[in-house]
């Protein structure tokens, strides 16, 4: 029997398994978009066939970081901006795990921006959900990396002089192999996109628009929304990098004009995942490294085997 018997277990999975036996009182405000992410994720998991015991959810800091408290699985509530380095190492240590990372727009596009770029570049087979509410919620309403230009807050009393980050364009340029935008107010699409993202073999980035009814009142509920795949106006090939880039640029610009464009923006099924790349150059073992430590029969190399270089 495997030392990780939860991994690869074949059985019926009920979405209720992803709700903790005793549900903690959520710290999210009524009407918060974060509930939409939690719901969509709970719905997606049984569909992709992964159980709570073989799933590791790594979160950052902020309202979004509380996701790991309300979602039943192995969880790692890390520090601000660092969910990705923790998550990708766990995936390297044990590729059998379903690893999902999540955080907010400040967490992922601000303080953790460097990790976002490099994790995308490496194309780890993990899913990254960014709760994008265009505001710092937990610290009470400061301007965030995705707040629109001119956004006024207590820390930007005269309005932000900065253009917002373009999350999907940045993601594409960095190397993500699945990029989508969805919204909490669109639960069916959100669920479908999360299923695709989790099943995708590579770095899947989902920019998840989550309305903040408390601190971003004058902004949006992200309705009405348009699914770019269903819209006649948009006819682009999601596997074509240049067409995808144009569509993203458009969607990112128009969000600030009040138009919510969601859907899949880029899908590259050809690009090998980081695990595959590393295994191809003998830089990573074929069997999960973590198994070796729990298997009593493992043989371990010794430094004494290297001493002939030093004689």
């Amino acid at each position: 029997m495997s030392v990780f018997s939860a991994i690869g277990e074949e059985r019926e999975i009920d979405r209720d398994e992803f709700t903790p036996g005793i549900e903690p009182q959520a710290t999210w405000c009524p009407g918060c978009g974060d509930f939409g992410v939690l719901k969509a994720l709970k719905q997606a998991m049984p569909e992709v066939g992964r159980t709570p015991d073989e799933t590791l959810l790594v979160t950052g800091i902020g309202c979004s970081g509380k996701l790991s408290s309300y979602f039943e699985s192995y969880g790692f509530h890390s520090i601000h901006g660092r969910s990705l380095p923790v998550a990708r190492a766990a995936k390297l240590a044990n590729p059998g795990l379903e690893v999902i990372a999540a955080g907010g727009d400040g967490d992922g596009y601000g303080i953790g921006g460097n990790h976002f770029m490099h994790t995308a570049r490496e194309n780890h087979d993990i899913t990254y959900i960014v709760f994008n509410n265009e505001i710092f919620g937990l610290t009470k309403g400061q301007t965030s990396p995705t707040s629109p230009k001119g956004h006024k807050s207590k820390t930007q009393p005269h309005g932000s002089a900065k253009d917002p980050v373009r999350p999907m364009s940045l993601s594409l340029a960095s190397g993500s192999s699945y990029i989508a935008r969805t919204a909490a107010v669109n639960p069916n699409q959100a669920k479908e996109i999360l299923i695709e993202a989790i099943e995708h073999d590579g770095f899947a980035h989902v920019d998840f628009l989550t309305q903040c009814p408390t601190w971003n009142k004058d902004a949006k509920q992200y309705v009405p929304y348009t699914d770019v795949q269903d819209s006649d106006e948009f006819d682009f090939d999601v596997t074509d990098r240049r067409e995808a880039a144009d569509a993203m640029y458009d969607a990112e610009s128009r969000l600030y004009e009040g138009e919510v464009l969601t859907g899949r923006f880029y899908v590259d099924e050809e690009r090998p995942s980081y695990t595959e790349e590393k295994q191809a150059t003998d830089e990573m073992p074929e069997a999960p490294l973590a198994e070796r430590y729990l298997d009593e029969d493992s043989e371990w190399e010794r430094s004494a085997d290297l001493l002939h270089h030093h004689r």
Partner: protein, 634 residues
């Protein structure tokens, strides 16, 4: 017979490092004990660099006082050979000769490459070499090493010519040097090098009447020796403790450990990751360890500063990791290739909240290996970060060690981890979560589960949390969790005190009147000073401390009680280890004098000897480049 202290000097990129390493190995194979000391600038090409190789039939464990043989190759990458000495960096070409003369002992030998450092260059540099040689009884042998190399091979082979000349002047057999060349090279390159080696040897014999007394000592080893650096020993300790994951970002001098493990781990089924920054590097180690792998990271001061927050995360989530901190002179970028011991307080206390970590500072190659292993064992048993401090000196210094020293069993045990069967029997919260952080855990460490194990689900959180991991600000839970986590340090202190061998090293007669207290890489230099002091009629002993957290209270207290007065020797400006000792022990202030050095050079034994005189006699002069701080109330 005096010991040999051979210094090979050139420019960065002149191959000084590999030449010296082979020379040291040849001496080791000839039955001698060897020790090397590396001095280099933060540059790819050019700049004055040297390596000192000390060799003797008796054990050598540190730099000597000065040195007695200079092989000055000249800096072949000098940018400004024609510009005299009035440029910002001076005349670089002549530096390997000019800058080493001050430390050369009386009666010393000088070989310089007159192919590069011709008469005109020497004149322009105004070295006054002849007069100084006469005054100091130096024996000078100019040789056209460059010309010889160019004529019989390629110019870069002038190092080989220099080694050949060295061997001739020291009456040293070429066999071992030739063997090492045959191991490292093949074909025409090998032939040319062997030819140049012998020609240089012969031409010295033919051209010169050897006027100096220095000869290579003779020795004999009882068993097979290996030549090993501090960085190598750290890396090998990690391998033998089952570490198969390293994440890092390059930074001198940490890069050595990172490079060695990046080369070996993939061959041993492990993973090495060079990542975007040190925040990521430490966070990856946390992620890999959380998923069940024995993992490490590390850096030098500046990069280690970036690791502060993940380090605290490891403390709070009780995720085992091992970090290496290879110190260099600070603050900020400081002097990247110079040693210093000024990161001690940074390492002990960085990251918000109370520190709960293990910190060791090994003193030499053997301790690097043993204490890296101990760091892994404790980190994984007690689920906390363990940090091994080395520095630029220890990182690159090479010593011979009995090969049998490394003949040990590996230990890949991941520590306090449960099997699935044990998890099934273990306590779970009503919510279904496994109680990963139980208040009443024995020794402070509550056994963990690994993601993927059935029914082991828990939440690891940097927030304060309940036994199953849920975020909580309950005062009762807070105190219970803090007390349990902090109690791990008491358990570790107890375990270390009850172990077979203390990490602290005592040296000198038990009943000595005076003490020297030292930590980390300066230990063995201080021990040599103890010998010199006692040979001169002194009554001195020393204690080298490696355990910095948890601090070895009893051992240091007993030592300090037994002496009249003590000199604390360390490479920083604010006497950090003395401060730590006073904080931990709360007494002995009037006994603790400090000898400090922070000019970028490690201590030499004579400096410690002279500095010690000051605690005996207030009139004694303090050696140049060091600073004496008297004991409180003195």
């Amino acid at each position: 017979m005096t010991d040999l202290m051979w210094r090979i000097a050139g420019g960065s990129g002149d191959g000084i490092d590999s030449t010296s390493q082979n020379f040291a190995k040849a001496l080791m194979r000839a039955g001698l004990d060897v020790f090397t000391h590396r001095h280099y600038p933060s540059r790819i090409r050019g700049g004055h660099t040297y390596v000192e190789v000390r060799a003797d039939e008796d054990p050598v464990r540190s730099r000597g006082n000065g040195f007695n043989f200079l092989l000055a190759l000249g800096d072949s990458f000098a940018r400004n050979p024609q510009e005299g000495t009035d440029t910002v960096y001076g005349n670089e070409q002549i530096k390997p000769l000019a800058e080493n003369l001050d430390d050369l002992n009386e009666g010393g030998v000088i070989v310089y490459d007159e192919g590069l450092l011709d008469e005109e260059t020497l004149e322009r540099a105004d070295l006054d070499l002849e007069a100084r040689a006469e005054e100091n009884d130096w024996h000078v042998y100019p040789l056209d090493l460059r010309g010889l190399a160019r004529e019989h091979g390629r110019e870069v082979m002038r190092n080989t010519a220099g080694v050949g000349a060295t061997a001739a002047l020291l009456d040293m057999d070429l066999d071992h040097i030739e063997d090492l060349m045959e191991d490292a090279m093949t074909g025409d390159v090998l032939e040319a090098n062997l030819d140049i080696l012998e020609r240089a040897y012969d031409s010295v014999r033919e051209e010169y009447e050897i006027s100096h007394d220095l000869r290579v000592p003779t020795g004999d080893h009882d068993e097979q020796q290996v030549l090993m650096s501090g960085s190598n020993a750290v890396a090998y300790g990690a391998i033998d403790e089952g570490c198969r994951f390293i994440s890092g970002y390059p930074m001198t001098p940490w890069t050595d450990v990172f490079t060695i493990l990046s080369q070996h781990l993939p061959k041993f089924g492990g993973i090495a990751e060079q990542v975007e920054d040190e925040i990521a590097a430490a966070s990856l180690a946390v992620g890999a360890s959380h998923a069940g792998v024995k993992a490490m990271s590390g850096s030098s001061g500046g990069g280690f500063a970036l690791m502060s927050e993940p380090l605290g995360l490891a403390e709070m989530t009780e995720t085992p990791i091992v970090l290496i901190e290879a110190m260099r002179a600070g603050p900020s970028t400081g002097m990247p290739t110079k040693p210093e011991q000024a990161d001690l307080e940074h390492i002990l206390y960085t990251s918000q909240g109370d520190s709960c970590r293990v910190v060791f500072a090994p003193a030499n190659v053997r301790e690097c290996y043993e204490q890296t292993r101990a760091a892994f064992r404790l980190a994984y048993e007690y689920q906390l970060p363990a940090i091994v401090i080395i520095d630029q000196k220890l990182s690159g210094e090479m010593r011979n060690v009995d090969e049998s020293f490394f003949d040990r069993e590996p230990n890949a045990d991941p520590g306090s981890v449960l099997t699935e069967d044990e998890i099934r029997e273990a306590a779970h919260h009503e919510s279904g979560k496994f109680k990963r952080y139980q208040h009443d855990a024995e020794n402070g460490a509550s056994p963990r589960s690994i993601p993927g194990q059935k029914d082991g689900r828990f939440l690891a959180s940097g927030n304060e949390h309940t036994p199953e991991g849920h975020i909580s600000e309950s005062p009762t839970n807070r105190v219970a969790q803090m007390d349990r986590r902090m109690s791990k340090l008491d358990s570790i202190r107890e375990e270390l005190d009850g172990g077979d061998e203390s990490h602290q090293t005592h040296y000198g007669p038990d009943d000595a009147d005076y003490g020297l207290l030292v930590w980390g890489s300066q230990q063995d230099t201080v021990f040599e000073a103890v010998d010199q002091l006692n040979e001169a009629g002194g009554s001195v002993k020393a204690l080298g401390v490696s355990d910095l957290m948890p601090y070895p209270e009893d051992e240091v207290s007993a030592f300090l009680e037994s002496v009249e007065s003590c000199l604390v020797v360390e490479m920083n400006a604010s006497a950090q280890f003395r401060g730590l000792t006073q904080k931990e022990l709360g007494r002995f202030g009037p006994k603790l004098n400090s000898l400090l050095k922070y000019n970028g050079e490690p201590f030499e034994p004579y400096e410690v000897v002279e500095g010690f005189e000051r605690i005996v006699s207030r009139d004694a002069a303090i050696p140049e480049g060091t600073k004496f701080v008297p004991a409180a109330g003195d």
